[in-house]
């Protein structure tokens, strides 16, 4: 059986760092907080992804203090007022910083190139590579 190595997943995790940025790129203003049928708003989806990363990071023993806004993005039937949610830029920045913390914590196998993907960030120009 092959040795378990988080790097096998780290590159995919790093891709998500970029892809989430791509997905919310161009969604602005009221469109960010608009629900579409059963789909919660794009800003909620983003906040939920970021909040989940923070939750996972704590489970890995990382010192990630609870942010006031995290409760807005918990999976409950009744959403809070979007006026109380943080902006897209705040959440995207947290996605990157929390992702980098998790990457550093995960890259502990001998063959890993630690930090390789943790430094990736969303770049509009890089989307043409995929």
């Amino acid at each position: 059986m092959a040795e378990a190595c988080p790097e096998a997943l780290a590159s995919t995790f790093g891709f998500n760092n970029m892809a989430v940025g791509w997905l919310v790129d161009g969604i602005e203003g009221e469109d960010l907080t608009q629900s579409f049928g059963p789909a919660k708003p794009a800003l909620w989806q983003l906040g939920h992804v970021v909040g989940s990363r923070r939750f996972l990071g704590r489970g890995m023993g990382l010192d990630i203090p609870q942010a006031d806004w995290e409760t807005h993005f918990e999976p409950v039937d009744e959403m809070s007022d979007p006026a109380d949610w943080p902006g897209k830029d705040v959440l995207l920045e947290d996605l990157q910083t929390t992702g980098a913390q998790i990457a550093r914590r995960s890259a502990n196998c001998p063959t890993s190139r630690r930090g390789r993907w943790s430094t990736r960030s969303f770049s509009p120009a890089s989307r043409n590579r995929f």
Partner: protein, 45 residues
């Protein structure tokens, strides 16, 4: 308990957490993709 997840040789629980996170993020990325489609936004502008 938590620290034991990241000790050398005991990485499978960590892999479980990371792979679940990827699975979870994929679901919500799909939801945002659906919203993009509803808004008429392309994926690769």
């Amino acid at each position: 308990m938590v620290d034991s997840l990241i000790q050398p040789g005991q990485q499978e629980p960590l892999l479980n957490q990371l792979s679940f996170m990827l699975f979870h993020e994929s679901y919500h990325m799909g939801q945002i993709g659906y919203i993009r489609a509803m808004l008429g936004l392309p994926y690769l502008a």
